[in-house]
Symmetry: C2
Subunit: 151 residues, 2 copies
């Protein structure tokens, strides 16, 4: 599984940008997303891109992220210090994200919202159309590290 088909790059771009045009920069950004450990800001992503392609401008990365979000390839899962947090999310269906507050790793969870409880406590007449659940905590490895450190 280490060998990629010759058109792998084009496939990646097609998936990430929903049929946009292929360019070296778009490929670099899409690959950087693949190398991201979990949630990332545009700044984080810029650093990842420039590890291999130092010439890509930040404006381009912003434009790539917008395109990827529009195509559903990226999902906005929160904020960190005023910057938007993104994550590559290919899971289907309604779910939410866990974010490790220590290392930024992310994971999916099923939606833990109890619809009955929600309906019961919502005020009379209020129609709930959507919800946004963000779960924070420590991933297994950070959790272990904290415990060993005496947290």
């Amino acid at each position: 599984m280490t060998e990629r088909p010759p058109d792998a790059s084009n496939n990646l771009i097609a998936r990430a940008y929903a049929g946009g045009r292929a360019s070296a920069q778009r490929l670099a950004v899409a690959q950087a997303v693949g190398r991201a450990a979990g949630a990332f800001t545009v700044d984080d992503l810029t650093a990842l891109v420039r590890e291999r392609d130092p010439g890509v401008s930040k404006a381009t990365i912003y434009r790539c992220v917008s395109a990827m979000a529009a195509s559903g390839y990226l999902t906005r899962i929160g904020d960190r210090d005023g910057a938007v947090l993104w994550v590559r999310c290919d899971a289907d269906g309604h779910h939410h994200h866990l974010v490790c507050t220590s290392c930024g790793a992310t994971a999916h969870t099923a939606c833990p919202v109890d619809a009955d409880a929600l309906a019961a406590s919502a005020p009379e007449g209020f129609t709930i159309t959507s919800h946004d659940v963000r779960l924070y905590g420590l991933c297994a490895s950070c959790s272990g590290r904290m415990q060993r450190a005496g947290g």
Copy 2:
């Protein structure tokens, strides 16, 4: 020329700013918060303050909001167009907020998160320390208005 606000005003300031110094501006901002219908941005609040006190600077309003948030008088409940959304929240205990996407009105709900479901679907080893639930929908009056309009 020491003009001292009446006791009710001092009480309001004491509650809102956790013992800070009383000033006309702080009073104006705290009163504007009281007049806010639900969630508001600093811009919204500035408009409310200036309805009655046109001279209050935005920097002061930012500083007042920070102080009120630090004292627990205001709670950050989300964002709107890149600006932070605040709400006056005097409810005790763990709860969440509904926001009407049409008029900005807010309401409390009990926490609808099913802890068992959450524990069951969280990945092995991930320790969830906190969560943030934002509920969006239409309040009773906006809901009625939409229905009447045929939407």
